[in-house]
């Protein structure tokens, strides 16, 4: 009787503790993005650190070596990439009012054509007022990008902390996990280890592969758009690569942006066709080669569950939620499966298992 009460009390404490953790998580979600990014980067780089550690190198030395090489590469990327990015942002800033005017003319023509061919729609001034508001916003934005940066300085500073966070997560992450294992009661050690190991096995390759896959897809799109002659090829490639982290939605975002730029630019219908072919080829290569070779065994989550979890993650936590939705779903799936297996194992008679011994081994 007391054992049952004790067990239910433990479950209740666990539920309350989880609830408190989730509550705090939601209260602090606006500053969590840099830490989530740091944890993802550290998780992706951990196998490389372990590979260096396997050679008998101390972890601190391994982490320092790896991050030095990476920061060097990142600095080179900044030296060559920032001027090109800045030039593209300046182009957008200068062209934004004209782009908005062009979009308004196009939308008004479309509205007029629809009213002429389908009089039952009736004339209601929708497009005009909507675009007046958009014009006002875009004029403000065109002149105020620097002040937008100032307003969001807190988030930008937190992002700058990412490399420092990555260093500490990489250096101390395994040690922290070790301390948690040491705190566990003996009877729970193997169950917790089994959950952690199987989540790692399911998720590890998936997350690492996704990051590499995003980099390859983003690079291919950027190079392809450059040769097609689409403006802002670098930004669109970057957005497509980052968007690739979000299943199903990311590639659509990149394609939509590229088509929009082509419509508003001087590319014409031919450019749109080329963009569609480019995205089609890259998607084909991604689905049949890159994902198979790089992402490897999938996380074994049903596609409907993936879409649902991404929607839920986006609703609850915005971009952060959309990125971490699939990893959390995979982790929960593994935990539930293992706990069900453990429960089933306890109810199956061990004698019945032994009675199924095959043959005498000599």
């Amino acid at each position: 009787m007391f054992e049952l009460i004790e067990r239910w009390l433990r479950i209740l404490l666990l539920i309350i503790g989880t609830g408190v953790f989730i509550f705090i998580f939601f209260q602090l979600k606006h500053i969590l993005l840099p830490f989530v990014i740091s944890i993802i980067i550290a998780y992706v780089l951990n196998p490389v650190v372990r590979m260096i550690e396997a050679r008998g190198i101390k972890r601190l030395t391994a982490v320092s070596l790896l991050l030095t090489v990476m920061m060097g590469g990142f600095a080179l990327g900044l030296i060559f990439g920032v001027p090109a990015l800045a030039a593209e942002i300046e182009k957008i800033q200068n062209r934004l009012p004209q782009i908005t005017k062009d979009m308004k003319v196009f939308a008004l023509q479309l509205e007029g054509s629809l009213e002429e061919n389908y009089p039952m729609i009736g004339s209601k001034p929708v497009i005009g007022p909507a675009f007046e508001a958009l014009e006002e916003k875009s004029s403000q934005l065109a002149g105020n990008i620097p002040s937008w940066i100032m307003e969001h300085m807190e988030q930008i500073i937190l992002l700058i902390l990412v490399p420092f966070n990555v260093f500490f997560f990489l250096r101390d992450g395994d040690e922290w996990m070790q301390k948690i294992y040491n705190l566990l009661p003996n009877r729970y050690v193997e169950t917790v280890l089994s959950v952690v190991s199987e989540i790692n096995a399911s998720l590890g390759g998936y997350i690492r592969g996704l990051v590499v896959d995003g980099a390859i897809v983003g690079s291919l799109i950027a190079i392809g758009l450059y040769f097609i002659g689409v403006d802002y090829w670098l930004i669109i490639g970057l957005i497509t690569g980052i968007g690739n982290l979000i299943p199903y939605f990311g590639p659509v975002l990149g394609f939509g942006l590229a088509v929009l730029v082509a419509i508003l630019g001087t590319g014409g219908p031919a450019a749109i066709v080329k963009i569609a072919v480019l995205f089609g080829i890259v998607k084909f290569l991604d689905d049949f080669f890159f994902q198979v070779l790089i992402v490897g065994a999938s996380a074994h989550v049903h596609a409907v569950l993936v879409v649902l979890s991404v929607f839920l993650g986006g609703y609850l936590l915005g971009i952060v939620g959309m990125i971490i939705a699939v990893p959390i779903t995979v982790s929960l799936q593994v935990m539930v499966r293992i706990l069900i297996d453990r429960y089933r194992f306890k109810t199956v008679s061990a004698a019945r298992e032994r009675a199924q011994a095959d043959h005498w081994v000599c």
């Binding site: 008998g56 101390k58 030395t61 009877r187 050690v189 280890l193 089994s194 190991s197 298992e353």
Partner: protein
């Protein structure tokens, strides 16, 4: 090519190796289970293991528990015990540093055939089955020699058991 890269890596990393870590790797290489592995391969295995401390009397696992991990004794002693029909506990063997137990869990997840209890303050390395399976599939150069060593050990035990059963059945004194 892989051998060349390994040699190059050895020369590059030699000056910055951690002596304590290397000592640990050399200690593990003395285990029968890992005798066929190089220091780099043992180092890789070490990164897949989790270390845990037990105090005297701590139950590492009970007879009948679902087995999911191999344990390597780094320090201290572990008693492998079995419960008899009359309820008494019999210690089958005491395992010291450099030995291993629970290897059957790498082959299947059937119930543990005996219990393991820490005799004094003991440090063990735990290799969980999922990590071992990943090693076998992605690093067969590490996983297969371990699997072979486990199989050889089991084969020796089965032959010994067969002889004992034969002697018991034929009434030949041991």
């Amino acid at each position: 090519m892989a051998g060349f890269i390994d040699d190059l890596a050895e020369r590059v990393f030699q000056p910055i190796r951690d002596p304590k870590l290397m000592e640990r790797i050399r200690f593990l290489q003395t285990l029968a289970l890992l005798k066929d592995l190089s220091s780099t391969q043992v180092g890789k295995l070490l990164t897949e293991c989790i270390e845990r401390q037990y105090y005297a009397g701590d139950v590492i696992f009970n007879e009948g528990d679902q087995g999911n991990a191999l344990f390597i004794v780094m320090s201290g002693f572990v008693a492998i015990q079995k419960k008899l029909d009359n309820g008494d506990i019999q210690t089958l063997v005491n395992l010291g540093p450099g030995t291993h137990f629970g290897e059957l869990a790498l082959l299947d997840t059937l119930p543990r055939s005996a219990a393991a209890v820490a005799v004094d303050e003991t440090a063990v390395l735990i290799l969980y089955k999922a990590n071992f399976d990943a090693l076998v599939s992605k690093r067969a150069d590490i996983g297969l020699p371990i699997m072979t060593a486990v199989a050889e050990n089991l084969a020796r035990q089965v032959r010994r058991l067969n002889e004992q059963v034969f002697k018991l059945q034929s009434g030949v004194p041991r």
